[in-house]
Subunit: 201 residues, 2 copies
DNA sequence: GACAAATACGAACGTTCGTGCTTTTTTAGT
DNA sequence: ACTAAAAAAGCACGAACGTTCGTATTTGTC
């Protein structure tokens, strides 16, 4: 009962790595079998279809994301410190602590945005969760008094996320060595604008 | 001498449309032949290889981008008005005036960032040109006195671009009806921060 | 250690991939 | 209208695609 799920996990980890480089549809059964040292059919049986494999790959990568980005943040005091950790951990996620080809969710975003199906549905849900997490962390920072009370936290989450997207492109496509500095400066400005400066407590 | 380049142009337009939906590597010779009503071999002869086809597709799409986004901006007075038009035209580019599957360059960015080759090289060059164009327009706005003189225009260009990336994801993946409003608000804040408020002329 | 169940394999399927050759049709210049 | 050139089609190829099926091997249980 355990051998099977072990292999499955190994497969999905490799699938995530490959997908971050070649895209989800670029993960072929044959190539994945080669990389895991399995036969095509033996591997295929774990999923039953390529669609299932794609969804499973996304789900397995979520676990890695939570471990790398979300959990460290939840172990940080709520409010601004947590917001900062989320940002820092995401940069780490996209630059080495994550998948070899960068953030799979960004890759999948542009790959699936015109392809209805379970994979797309799951990804949309995932992205909503992420934005909601960001917004919630923003709201916590409002509660602590660090952020102003009239802050639009959904807007905050959107802008937070767009900074990550900009960083990802600058880093991975342009190989810009200053990408992290750029993103950090942009992030600082976002935070500064959100700060509660009315009551100089 | 003209029939050939006519067909070629027709092919590349369809290739751009398909690529915006399925990615560059998702544009197969067979599918492209079907959509253009040609035979695989007859179509193939125009390019000689799939790599060539991909580069040609990107180049042809640049022309559409310039026509849709850049040219209208250049016909607008330099400075802040031109910056605003660039933003507005880009939103139009990504939502209807451009390709059916959204901005091809964004799709190609995540698709090619780990695949060295002519296509990637060309895309990187293109993206640099785009950022430089944004930075230059920012500098013009400094010259007109609309933007502050200590504005980091490269940073401005990067942030401008990241707003577009955020919009694109919100619009195309999440189908968020408020994506344009979100992006516009974010853009307004970027502009406001860049404004020259020191000398209240 | 035997046995049932779970897991993996090998071979093959029909299809589509990118890419060559050869032939036919269409075009442009006289 | 005739012709040389350009463009498109026809056909075929080896490889890889996702998937299925039957068989072998490994596993966990008694």
């Amino acid at each position: 009962m355990s051998k099977g799920s072990d292999t499955r996990q190994t497969i999905l980890r490799e699938a995530g790595n490959l997908a971050s480089i070649n895209g989800l549809s670029g993960v072929t059964i044959g190539a994945l079998a080669s990389h895991t040292g399995m036969s095509k059919s033996g591997l295929f049986r774990h999923f039953g279809s390529k669609d299932e494999l794609q969804v499973a790959t996304l789900k397995a990568t979520i676990d890695r994301f939570i471990e790398t980005v979300v959990r460290p943040a939840l172990h940080t005091p709520r409010g601004l410190p947590r917001v900062r950790v989320l940002f820092e951990r995401w940069l780490a996620w996209a630059t080495g602590a994550g998948l070899p080809g960068g953030c799979l969710f960004i890759a999948a975003s542009v790959e699936l945005d015109d392809h209805p199906g379970q994979a797309r549905d799951f990804l949309v849900e995932t992205q909503h969760d992420w934005l909601e997490l960001l917004a919630t962390c923003g709201r916590k920072a409002v509660e602590t008094g660090e952020f102003r009370t009239d802050l639009d936290c959904d807007q905050f989450a959107h802008e937070f996320n767009s900074i990550l997207l900009g960083f990802h492109q600058a880093h991975r496509l342009l190989r810009d060595p200053g990408a992290a500095v750029r993103a950090s400066r942009q992030f600082d400005r976002l935070v500064e604008d959100a700060l509660n400066v009315g009551t100089h407590a």
